[in-house]
Subunit: 140 residues, 2 copies
């Protein structure tokens, strides 16, 4: 059966993971890449080198963020977030993003705000507009 996840299951899935995939598109050229993220219960925070992903999101800020847990063709769960790209340029937002990204367990992704300031690393928030989750499991 295919089913819809409850809000609680969607929330727990967003909190459980550290990597998802972001989908962006400008002029209807879709682009999907994995990103490391942090979720604060409201929005998604992430970073990226300056490149196609960032230039696409700057041009067209509606994005899609996906997480999945796949055991097989008929046994999977996936969460989909639709949101808006918000580039963090002010020190307060950047510091908050770094704290979240470095604080969600495992190795730090960026050690200091200056790591992110140098080398054109972009910090951004995905302002969550909608979220949903679906699953399939084999019928008992």
């Amino acid at each position: 059966m295919i089913g819809v996840m409850s809000n609680e299951e969607v929330e727990a899935t967003l909190r459980r993971h550290r990597v998802g995939r972001i989908g962006c598109s400008a002029n209807d050229r879709p682009y999907v890449v994995p990103i490391t993220y942090a979720y604060d219960g409201e929005d998604i925070y992430a970073y990226s080198a300056n490149g196609r992903k960032v230039s696409t999101m700057r041009e067209q800020p509606l994005v899609c963020f996906e997480i999945d847990e796949i055991e097989g063709p008929s046994s999977w769960r996936s969460v989909l977030v639709e949101g808006r790209y918000d580039e963090l340029t002010e020190p307060e937002g950047r510091t908050r993003a770094l704290r979240l990204l470095n604080g969600n367990g495992g190795e730090p992704v960026l050690r200091t705000p200056s790591d992110a300031a140098g080398d054109g690393v972009v910090l951004f928030r995905i302002d969550v507009l909608g979220r949903s989750g679906r699953f399939e499991r084999r019928d008992a």
Copy 2:
């Protein structure tokens, strides 16, 4: 270091997996979902229930297909395919797609062509226009 995968590595990654994520977008509303696929060395074959994914790809056929292998924020590989949605409506193409999808190991995803014909299941090919792969690994 971040690097670019060789053609051989990209090819091997496409052959190694059975699940990827497809990104599509119409009117700049990106949509990303996991799909089970088969790869014949040239193109990607997949199926879907009739829904947002199929209606989006019918409206705007340029799609993106992503596979990744992620160990951590600084240790990952990802393959990106850009291609064109081609819905399989003729018996020959549908039979070929089913044979590939059922033949790539594991449980059959669809048992007979009539499974796919009923219930609005759509079979499609992603006509591969370009492929690339990137990786990051910790410097030794």
